[in-house]
């Protein structure tokens, strides 16, 4: 089973992924996450904007998925901390995200993720996160 299949298998069993309605399109070690628009993702009805928490959850999940794809770990990474910058209002449209592992250490990794809508170079939000890699204890 390829790493991509393992990731898809893992994601399909995570309730929050289904609650958000997100999916991951994977080609080798390259992944784009997609969050199709749904009314339940809205945070402010008067301006029809996506909820910052929904965007944050999507970005954190994207960062974890990319890390899982690249790291040699059995279990999903655990979040140490995240910082989310909200750059533009998330409109009532599909949201996309990609993540890059900036530093892969033995025990920890740093990951950047960015989300956008109509235009790739107009990001809606950006995340920087540090994650704990839960490797099998060396004998």
């Amino acid at each position: 089973m390829s790493r991509a299949d393992e990731l898809q298998g893992f994601l399909s069993g995570v309730p929050i992924v289904e609650t958000l309605g997100m999916r991951c399109e994977i080609k080798g070690d390259d992944m784009t996450a997609v969050l199709p628009f749904q009314d339940k993702l809205i945070g402010n009805f008067t301006i029809k904007a996506l909820h910052g928490g929904a965007i944050g959850t999507f970005l954190e999940m994207t960062a974890m998925a990319q890390l899982f794809l690249e790291a040699d770990v059995e279990r999903p990474p655990r979040t140490i901390n995240i910082t989310v910058d909200y750059l533009r209002q998330g409109r009532a449209e599909d949201l996309f995200a990609r993540a890059t592992v900036i530093k892969m250490g033995r025990r920890m990794a740093s990951v950047r993720a960015e989300a956008w809508q109509a235009e790739r170079n107009k990001p809606v939000a950006a995340l920087l996160g540090h994650f704990l890699l839960r490797r099998e204890d060396p004998a």
Binding site: G13, I16, K40, G43, H51, G53, A54, F58
Partner: protein, 158 residues
Amino acid sequence: MTDAINDPQKRIELMRENINMMTAAVPWARETGFQVTKIEPGHIWGVQPYKEHLIGDPEAGVIHGGVITTLLDNLCGMSCTTAMQEFRFVATLDLRIDYMRPAEPKQDILAEAECYHLTRSVAFCRAWAYHETRDKVIATAQGAFAINKARPKGSMPS
């Protein structure tokens, strides 16, 4: 309504009277199911009940960190609203969340947010998520919120 909303004390009373509406009117908050429990000037309390559809780690049965992001982001935003003199909408500029320990499965998560400094254009907040008491902290948050400009008279929904 506009007069009441621009008086800090009356605004807080209005928020207390509509405490359930504060999350019921927000679709993503309705989806995660958190509630506001207490409102004071510049300080808000809430609870996130344990719900299976929010699990992020099926093996451990623990709620996903993003749910805590949603809870703390929203409470921080509301704490700004209770700290301001005149009512303004706020938008999250950034939010940092540190995870101290994983949440326990099947346990409610309590949270509080405090708006500790206001300038004309930015509000600074911190927040905590914990089980039972503040010494069992799950996560802490620190955020900056942009304060929107006043809208022209008559454009506020009444």
